[in-house]
Amino acid sequence: MEYFIYLTTTIFIYAILAISLNLVAGYTGLFSMTQASFFGIGAYASAILTTRYGLPFSYSILVGILITTLVSFLVGIISNNFKNDYYMLVTLAFNAIIFGLFVNWQSVTHGSLGIYGIQKPALLGHLFPESISFLILVFIFFLPIYLISYFMVKSPFGIALRAIREDEKVAQLFGYNIKNYKLSIFIIGAIMAGIAGSLFASQVSFISPPSFALSESIFILSMIILGGLSDLNGSLLGAIFLVILPEFLSFIGFSQEVAAQMRQALYGLALVFIILYCPKGILGKYEL
C-alpha cells in the first residue's frame, strides 16, 4: 500500500511538471529545455529554507515561487529573442547554467552532496507525516493547477497561445503582443514547475543536482510528447506512463540498477515509436 501511495504521489508531482511544460511547449510551441531547472529551484528553495532556517513548508513554497518567477522572468526575456532550434539551444544553455549553480554553489546547495533530512510539510497547522496525508497534500496542489490550466487554455488567452504557436507573425498582425504572451506563459509554467519541485523535495527528503539535470528536462518533454502535446490529460497520461514504466521493469524481474539503465533506453524507444506512428502523442492535439 505504501508503495502504491508513493507511486501515486510521484505521478501527481510529475503531472504538475508535465502540465507546466505542456502549457509552454504544447500550447505555445516554445520547446523549453529549462523546465528541470525551475523544478530544481523550487526544490532547493524548499529544502534550504526548511532544513537550514526552519521555515514552514508554506513559506518555503512561497519563496520558491518568488525565486522561480524572478529567474524565469530573466530567462524568458532573453530566450524570447530566439525561435525554434535556437530557442531550444538557449533554454538548454540556461539549464546547464542553473545546473552548474546547483553543483558549484556549495555554500548554499551543498553541491554534489545534496541536501538531506527534508521534512514532510506541515501546512495550515496540520501535519502531513504519513504518506497518505502527503498524497492528499500533493493532490491539493495538483487539482487547482490542473483546473487553472484547464480554464486558461479554454479562455481567449489559450486561443492566443495556440495562435502564437501556429504563426506568431500573423498573431501579431491581429494585435497580440506576442513577446508578453510568451513571457507570461513561460513564467506561469516555471511557477508550476517550482511548486512541483517543492513537493518533490518534501517527498524524497533528499535532493542533489542530478535530479535537475538536462536528462530531467528531456524526461518531462518525453512525458508530454508521449501523452500528447496541447492536451492537459495527455500530460497526466504521460506522467502515469513514464513513472510506472521503470517500476514495471522491476516487477518483471529486472534488478533496480538494470531497470534504471533501461529506463533511458525505453524512454527513447517510446519517443521514437510515438513520433513515427502517433505524432500527436496518445491524446494530443498538436503535431510537431
Binding site: F157, R162, E166, F174, N177
Partner: protein, 245 residues
C-alpha cells in the same frame, strides 16, 4: 474622398538591390486600389512594409491625413488598423476554423484574456462571418484540412472579423476557379462599401479592371503609371513593362 493612407518617398534597399525607390501613393477611404506590376516590381515588398513585416529605409506614412509615422512596426499594424492576406496562405493550421476567426476578435490584453470568455456576441459575429464565407459547416474542421479555396476564404474571414480599415489582398485570386473568384470579388466589394480601403495586388488584368477604382503600376520599385484601370492598362509604357511589347 478622404485619404486613409498616403505613403511618401518610401525607399527599401535589400543589400544593394533597390526594391522600392522613392515611392509615393495615396489610398482613398472606401475604394479598391489595384497594385500591379511584373514579378520583382516591388508589390509584395510594399505589402510587407505596410504590414510591418519589414521596415522601410526612408519615407513617411500619413494616416487619415493627420498623423505621420516614419516606420510601421510589426506590433503597431493593429493600432493603425492594417491587415492583410499572404501570397502563400498563412492560417493557424492546427486550430479549428472557428478558433481561427475567434482569435481575431478575442480580448488582446493578457490579463483580460485570461479572465474573460467568448460571449454570445463573439459567437454570433463569427457565425455571421463564417456563413458569409460559406465556412460555417466547416467550423470544427482544422484549418489545415480545408481545400485551397476554403483556406483563402478563411484568411478573408479573419480579415472580416478584424476591425481593419486598410486591407491588403496579396494575390488572393491566384489558383482559384471562376466561381470562387466571383465570390471573393463580391466580398471585396462589400468591404469597400463598408468604407474600408482595399489594396489588391494582382496579376489578372481582368480582375483589376472589373474590381478596382484606381490602379498603381510598379516597375523595378518605381511608380510607372497610375489612374483609372482601363486607361492605365492601355498606356504603352505599362504594356511594355508588363507584356514586354
Amino acid at each position: 474622398m478622404k485619404i486613409s493612407l498616403a505613403i511618401k518617398n518610401i525607399r527599401k534597399n535589400f543589400n544593394g538591390i533597390i526594391a522600392l525607390d522613392d515611392l509615393s501613393m495615396e489610398f482613398k477611404k472606401g475604394s479598391i486600389i489595384g497594385i500591379i506590376g511584373p514579378n520583382g516590381s516591388g508589390k509584395t515588398t510594399l505589402a510587407n512594409i505596410l504590414s510591418g513585416a519589414i521596415t522601410n529605409d526612408n519615407g513617411l506614412f500619413v494616416f487619415d491625413e493627420c498623423f505621420e509615422v516614419k516606420k510601421i512596426n510589426p506590433d503597431e499594424t493593429a493600432f493603425y488598423k492594417i491587415s492583410r492576406t499572404f501570397q502563400d496562405v498563412r492560417l493557424f493550421n492546427q486550430m479549428s476554423v472557428l478558433d481561427n476567426v475567434l482569435t481575431v476578435i478575442s480580448e488582446k490584453s493578457i490579463f483580460d484574456s485570461i479572465f474573460s470568455k467568448h460571449t454570445d456576441f463573439h459567437l454570433k459575429k463569427v457565425k455571421k462571418i463564417l456563413e458569409e464565407t460559406d465556412l460555417w459547416e466547416k467550423r470544427n474542421c482544422l484549418a489545415a484540412n480545408l481545400s485551397y479555396g476554403q483556406k483563402k476564404l478563411l484568411e478573408i474571414a479573419r480579415i472580416m472579423a478584424s476591425d481593419a480599415k486598410i486591407i491588403i489582398f496579396d494575390e488572393i485570386f491566384s489558383g482559384l476557379f471562376p466561381e470562387m473568384i466571383k465570390k471573393i470579388a463580391n466580398i471585396i466589394k462589400s468591404l469597400k462599401d463598408e468604407g474600408k480601403t482595399v489594396l489588391v495586388i494582382e496579376h489578372n488584368m481582368k480582375i483589376i479592371t472589373d474590381l478596382c477604382n484606381h490602379v498603381y503600376v510598379l516597375d523595378n520599385g518605381r511608380l510607372l503609371a497610375k489612374g483609372r484601370p482601363k486607361k492605365v492598362l492601355e498606356e504603352e509604357k505599362v504594356l511594355e513593362a508588363y507584356l514586354g511589347k
